[in-house]
Amino acid sequence: RRQKPCTLRELELTVSELGLGYESDETVLLRYCSGKCTAHRHNYDITMEHMMRTGFKKKGRKDKVINGPCCRPTAFEKDFSFLDNNSRYHTIQNVSAKNCGC
């Protein structure tokens, strides 16, 4: 089970399946970021992991921190417009990733 690095993935969906509340049978090629950022971690991340496990508790802290770089979009595709099932046009921004990074 090799840890796949953070990359751009694609999935064909209807607009309704985006979960944004629009009802439209038009389809969209949703691009999203998934995979591991293990190789981009720093000493900070190892320390945060350790603190999350035991360190914070010992110091009476309840912080929840991210213990590694996140695989996230570094840019989004331009606006996407469609006609919903009530024949009305909508334009939505920043729904599909253009490229990803840690």
Binding site: T38, M52, I66
Partner: protein, 580 residues
């Protein structure tokens, strides 16, 4: 105080004199007396006040007179209050001593005495108010006399305070050396001086110690204690700079290493052989050390001499030579100032018998290659049968050999894994040829490489770095780059903190990690980043030699192309959940 080297004749045993001056001291009052040590009975010291340079002629210099023959410094004028008006507290004068008259007023050689006068703006305290110690032995007179050994006896210090008007009861007011001294017998004499002061009501005794040093001069010849001959055999280790055999030369005199230009005990060595081969091949290196004689702890010199190779010796060179090395104590006046040392050198040829392929990770080694030093052997692969078929020729590129950077052996490695997939390349024959660089002498051996049936690699699988794996399971199931057995190997560390025995996944645990980025590993950083990486390492670690690789690591070491990590591995990875 440092006497200039080889100072013969008159010299000041003390380089600094001090006295305190008060208001109202009359002209003619003696201040202090300087002394000079003689070298012969006929010598007569002539004392002069002098200036380190014309600049140093000071306004106040005319206030003092130095008696040319007795060395007594006295006042030329009565000291008035006005003479103490400036805030200065310390005036300096310089005295020099010559065996004859002179008009020159510049302090000639470096050997002059410094006179420091403390000017106190008050009248001289009466005897009763004077502290006994100060009366007898002024505390700031910290200068210790230095007397050159083997020299003429004489007065070296005036013990009485000339500025004080009291009568001397008993004979001793000058410290005198009665006979020539020998430094090799004692370097220093600690004298106890007792000053007895009697007033109407009281007798007080004050004691102090005075250390009189005996300076060294080169009055001892060098000698050999034990053998003056070294028998040396040079075989495998024949590297430039290699040193062989050690011979010792002793000298009861000192060898000052500072300042370099003023060494009074200068040792010069000369190789007497004029055979050019010897001169191009050998050198003798001498080093000095100071040691204490067993008896009395007197300092003496030890020089040790070693034969040094000025170049690598060829494997074929085979010779017996005798080197004669003359050690000369150039500053020793006597005749026996030299010692002759002998180095009997036998150089054996190195025979390159045969080549063997050690099982260890494809290492090819000429017999005794591990001991070779100073000459190099290169390895190459040849086809055993010159008129082999075209397909077989294409298989030939599958395996290659490289020279170990840190040793005398060759390393066989897979150069083209694609070629190994062809059926005709499952059974390969090679000729490994070892050649000595200079003499071009060669030897060779046959190598037979058979591909393991079960381990043929599917076309698709791309070779990744074993080191990317963080767990045993992933590691041992993977075919990694450089894996000599076809599979990566897992090493489980057991130590708690940062340790050299860290857990990691390796292509071959015999050579990786071993803190050596060897010839094969250095061909591709992902073969063994544990030994070779120059990239940052995250987590507790220690870098290897000259900053490469990972010598010690906390927990598990795993590496990606841009970074390595040292991390405890006992957790399931926490991924970012809803709190993002």
């Amino acid at each position: 105080m440092g006497l200039s080297a080889g100072a013969t004749g008159l010299y000041f045993p003390q380089n600094e004199y001090i006295e305190t001056m008060y208001v109202g001291q009359l002209a003619g009052t003696p201040v202090l007396q300087v002394h000079a040590m003689l070298d012969s009975d006929s010598e007569r010291p002539h004392f002069y006040l002098c200036w380190m340079s014309p600049l140093k002629r000071q306004a106040y210099s005319s206030w003092f007179n130095l008696d040319i023959s007795t060395g007594v410094l006295s006042l030329n004028k009565t000291l008035e209050e006005s003479d103490f008006s400036w805030s200065v507290k310390k005036l300096f004068l310089h005295a020099m001593v010559l065996p004859n008259f002179t008009k020159k007023s510049q302090c000639g050689n470096k050997n002059s005495a410094r006179i420091m006068l403390d000017f106190v703006n008050a009248t001289m305290p009466q005897c009763a108010q004077t502290d006994m110690k100060e009366l007898c032995f002024p505390h700031r007179d910290t200068s210790n006399p230095h007397i050159m050994e083997n020299r003429f006896p004489g007065a070296l210090r005036q013990l009485r305070r000339l500025t004080r008007n009291y009568s001397v009861l008993l004979p001793a007011d000058t410290l005198v050396v009665m006979a020539p001294l020998d430094r090799e017998e004692s370097e220093c004499y600690r004298l106890l001086l007792v000053c007895t002061v009697r007033t109407e009501t009281l007798i007080t005794k004050v004691e102090t110690s005075l250390d009189v040093y005996v300076n060294d001069e080169d009055d001892n010849a060098p000698y050999v204690n034990g053998t003056d001959t070294a028998d040396i055999i040079i075989s495998y280790n024949r590297t430039k700079g290699g040193s062989f055999g050690t011979l010792f030369v002793f000298d009861r005199d000192l060898t000052p290493i500072f300042p370099i230009d003023k060494t009074h005990n200068k040792y010069v060595g000369t190789l007497l052989n004029n055979d050019p081969w010897i001169k191009d091949t050998f050198d003798i290196k001498g080093t000095f050390s100071e040691k204490k004689a067993a008896v009395g702890g007197i300092r003496e010199s030890v020089h040790d001499y070693q034969l040094v190779l000025k170049r690598n010796l060829y494997v074929t060179e085979n010779r017996v030579v005798q080197l004669d090395y003359l050690v000369n104590d150039t500053t020793y006046p006597g005749l026996e100032g030299t010692v002759l040392l002998h180095f009997n050198v036998t150089i054996l040829p190195v025979h390159i018998p045969s080549c063997s392929v050690s099982s260890q990770a494809g290492k090819v080694c000429v017999e005794n290659c591990l001991e070779f030093d100073g000459f190099s052997v290169t390895y190459r692969l040849e086809v055993p049968d010159k008129n082999m078929s075209a397909e077989s020729q294409s298989c030939f590129a599958a395996i290659s050999i490289t020279q170990a950077s840190d040793g005398m052996w060759g390393l066989l490695y897979v150069n083209d894994s694609e070629a190994l997939r062809k059926p005709e390349c499952q059974d390969l024959q090679y000729l490994v040829v070892a050649q000595e660089e200079h003499t071009q002498l060669e030897t060779s051996t046959q190598v037979h490489i058979i591909l393991d049936e079960g381990k043929t690699v599917p076309e698709s699988q791309q070779f990744l770095s074993c080191a990317e794996n963080r767990q045993r399971g992933d590691c041992e199931s993977m075919r990694g780059l450089g894996a000599t057995t076809g599979r990566c190997q897992w090493r489980q560390g057991t130590d708690k903190g940062i340790s050299e025995n860290y857990s990691t996944c390796s292509p071959d645990l015999r050579t990786c990690p071993d803190s050596v980025c060897d010839a094969v590993e250095s061909k591709d950083m992902s073969i063994c980043p544990q030994d070779c990486t120059k990239e940052p390492v995250i987590g507790g670690h220690e870098r290897g030699l000259s900053g490469n690789g990972i010598k010690a690591c906390y927990g598990t070491c795993y590496c990606f192309s841009e970074k390595c990590f040292c991390e405890k591995e006992d957790i399931e990875e926490v991924i970012c959940d809803d709190m993002c």
